[in-house]
């Protein structure tokens, strides 16, 4: 289900920005979960990261890239 052909340049641009930010957030959640001392906070960060991963996959899907494929290279 690729919507890439129907995306306007602006929509695409916003999606790429959002995807970058989502990925940054996933990375930060991972780093912070490693560093934090609080077990409850760790699980909170994992929850957030899982949520973000879901977002990133959704955005990639909208951009026309399959979540697991190598075509999403520039957004990783």
């Amino acid at each position: 289900m690729s919507h890439s052909t129907s995306l306007s340049p602006k929509e695409r641009s916003y999606m790429q920005d959002a995807l970058q930010m989502e990925n940054l957030c996933i990375a930060k959640c991972g780093v912070y979960a490693d560093q934090c001392s609080n077990q409850a906070m760790k699980s909170l960060l994992f929850d957030v990261a899982r949520n973000k991963r879901h977002h990133a996959n959704r955005l990639k899907q909208l951009l026309g890239n399959q979540p697991g494929s190598s075509t999403g290279r520039q957004y990783q």
Partner: protein, 160 residues
């Protein structure tokens, strides 16, 4: 200060609180990003997708905020501290009109009423208009009909 309970000064690391502050700031940024994206979306599919993501950002930010409030890591001043239910405060919530959920995390009734009073009466516009554009002896309110007809040339733009 309780916010530094998990601070590790010897290592060059963020405290738990600062990590969450950073994530919350990121959430705020992304919420703005999605807000703009929704406004710029051309198709319903894209708009709905952004709106769903935006909703998720709000929920994530809420989770982070609740967690920080539980640990006393969010310094929102006396107003929030007093009305936050999870803090050990004996003060009851006053005027729950704006409450969105049972967490009590959006208590803004005090500032709200204060703003409503000052901007509700039209004193500010009146004195501003009178001082700047009317003669001293003109006792008419700036929005009255006679005043408008008499001083057509001096009528300021915002009077329309």
């Amino acid at each position: 200060m309780a916010t530094r309970s998990s601070y590790q000064p010897n290592r060059n690391r963020l405290s738990d609180r600062d990590m969450l502050m950073d994530l919350l700031a990121t959430e705020k940024y992304m919420s703005h990003l999605y807000d703009h994206a929704i406004m710029e979306a051309a198709s319903d599919t894209v708009r709905d997708a952004f709106a769903a993501l935006q909703q998720d950002e709000h929920e994530t930010a809420q989770m982070l905020f609740d967690f920080m409030q539980q640990h006393g890591w969010y310094t929102t001043g006396a107003n929030r501290q007093k009305t936050g239910r999870r803090l050990q405060s004996s003060q009851p919530l006053s005027g729950g009109r704006l409450q969105r959920n049972t967490q009590g995390s959006i208590p803004m009734t005090q500032a709200d009423s204060r703003y409503a009073v000052t901007s509700g009466s039209r004193r500010l516009g009146q004195s501003f208009g009178a001082g700047k554009n009317r003669s001293q002896g003109n006792a008419q309110p700036s929005w009255s009909r006679q005043s408008r007809q008499r001083s057509d040339e001096t009528r300021p733009e915002w009077d329309y």
